[in-house]
């Protein structure tokens, strides 16, 4: 064990005496008059309930968070009175503009109300009664296998950092918890979809996983966030939208629509975090450009790998006949162009000006198209 309590309390006379006194009714009441702000909050809009935004008040609010947290390394809640020997829990992310985004409270509240449960919210029976044609089902099974690899990293991208983030950033940490929960749900839903369809899981993707590992293991939070939430998030959002658009069954359409909603929150956090980060640390712009110069090849690995690209073409074209594959290839080409344009636009709007011209992605796509 790495940490032992400072005493063997079973041998502690002081503790014995203290508890005796208190239990005999001699209370210390040392907590009775804290030096904290007295508030009595109510929901601004009763229909919406009591949100974290309603609690953004005075010394309790996140608006008053300083850029650098120096006074609290414990879990003592923001706004409570800090006293005595509070421990250092080992937080290493203590700067607001490393992690914060102005939309974290909204996204957290939204995630809670917009949750769904794969067991009961997807039409599993309808799916069983009207199975897809075999080639399409195999493609769906392959797609679900690939998307589970991605969801693992979208989940890991949030869970990996929580332990290191100062508890003062409560609403942000809470949002990350919601992202973990959302992506866990995707893992579950995709596994269920594949194993309900009759084809089982298919092949893991070496190229995708190499790219995923590179993104997940980024050294700093801001790199990891732009890599996982913005780059991987953009890929997943495009794929979920596309799969919902080409879905031939209502159950699949609903599955990917619901996943799309969750992924859009992840992208919204990623864009918001990037914007906040660059607004408060403009000197990081060049570092992040440089990071993406190197990391954007992961986007190619994620979408261009055989285990994603081929089933995507089959699903987009509606089958494996030559004409269907040509049509599918054409649709996927458009999807790629749109994906890269949207990803670049998100980077630009969040403050990475010049990303679309600096990025090699658009050129790569043009070469692919043979232009």
């Amino acid at each position: 064990m790495a940490f032992y309590m400072e005493k063997d309390f079973f041998e502690d006379v002081e503790l014995f005496n203290l508890t005796q006194r208190v239990m005999q009714g001699d209370l210390t009441l040392r907590w009775f008059d804290p030096k904290t702000e007295r508030v009595c909050l109510t929901p601004k809009d009763p229909a919406r309930g009591l949100t974290y935004e309603d609690c953004n008040v005075g010394s309790y609010g996140y608006d008053r968070l300083p850029e650098l947290i120096r006074n609290n390394y414990s879990m003592a809640p923001r706004g409570s009175e800090l006293w005595g020997k509070l421990p250092d829990l080992g937080y290493t992310l203590n700067r607001k503009s490393e992690v914060w985004s102005d939309n974290v409270s909204v996204l957290y509240e939204e995630a809670k109300t917009r949750r769904w449960a794969p067991a009961v919210d997807i039409g599993w029976e309808a799916l069983a009664q009207a199975p897809l044609p075999v080639p399409l089902e195999i493609a769906m099974a392959q797609m679900c296998t690939f998307l589970q690899e991605c969801a693992t990293v979208a989940m890991g991208g949030a869970s990996r950092w929580i332990y290191s983030i100062n508890q003062e950033f409560l609403e942000l940490k809470s949002y990350l918890c919601a992202q973990i929960f959302d992506q866990g749900r995707h893992l579950e839903a995709l596994r269920k979809r594949a194993l309900a369809g009759g084809q089982g899981l298919k092949r893991a993707s070496v190229a995708a996983e190499q790219a995923l590992k590179e993104l997940l293991s980024a050294e700093s939070y801001s790199e990891a966030s732009v890599g996982v939430n913005v780059l991987l998030g953009s890929v997943l959002l495009s794929l979920h939208r596309h799969l919902a658009a080409v879905a031939s069954s209502p159950a699949d359409r609903r599955l990917f629509s619901l996943m799309m909603q969750d992924t859009a929150r992840m992208v919204a956090y990623g864009s918001g975090q990037l914007r906040y980060h660059l607004t408060h640390q403009p000197h990081q712009t060049e570092f992040l450009h440089d990071y993406l110069d190197n990391a954007e090849h992961c986007l190619l690995g994620l979408i261009g790998n055989q285990e994603c690209l081929e089933p995507l073409i089959v699903l987009s074209g509606g089958g494996t006949e030559p004409e269907q594959l040509r049509r599918g290839g054409h649709a996927v080409q458009r999807l790629l162009t749109q994906l890269v344009a949207e990803y670049s636009e998100r980077c630009e709007r969040a403050g990475l000006h010049g990303r679309s011209t600096r990025s090699r992605l658009a050129t790569f796509l043009r070469q692919l198209a043979g232009e």
């Binding site: 917009r114 658009a245 209502p250 909603q261 859009a264 949207e342």
Partner: protein, 157 residues
């Protein structure tokens, strides 16, 4: 009683139905977005309306002359023929079929387009997808008067 499409009365009717279906929409979650609906006519001015969703309901619908994309989240725009076909499809199936969902129609901007200024705001279309789809699906319960002729207008890319 029937309502004409497109018209303010049509969207007000959807708004009322959404309120009546509060439980179902509550289950789908908060929906906080303001967006425009634009119906392009082959001649004459487009018909435009602005929908404001808040918490679990459609709080406001208003016919407007123009949109300020920096003030709202996005605009769904399509020609009259596409809108009419979509509504007829919804009526026919009690909800949009796979080819007529908002997502499918707007996905590549072929049949409908999404206009926006800030991509973060545009992404609300995806964040609230199911609520918005089910809102439009409520049209399946309305008696709708469609315009006599609908010609397809080429969407400019």
């Amino acid at each position: 009683m029937s309502v004409a499409f497109p018209s303010l009365a049509f969207f007000q009717a959807l708004q009322t139905l959404m309120r009546q279906e509060e439980l179902r929409f509550r289950r789908l979650g908060f929906v906080d977005t303001t967006f425009g609906v634009e119906v392009l006519a082959s001649h004459g001015a487009p018909w435009r309306c602005l929908l404001t969703f808040e918490v679990f309901e459609c709080r406001e619908v208003a016919e407007v002359a123009s949109f300020d994309l920096t003030e709202i989240d996005f605009v769904l725009t399509g020609d009259l023929a596409t809108w009419v076909e979509t509504m007829q499809n919804i009526k026919q199936h009690g909800g949009a079929d796979a080819a007529h969902s908002l997502n499918t129609l707007t996905h590549f901007g072929e049949r409908m387009r999404v206009l926006y200024d800030d991509p973060d705001n545009r992404d609300k279309l995806f964040r609230f997808q199911e609520s918005l789809q089910q809102f439009f699906d409520l049209a399946g319960r309305l008696d709708i008067d469609f315009p006599a002729t609908t010609t397809t207008v080429q969407l400019s890319a």
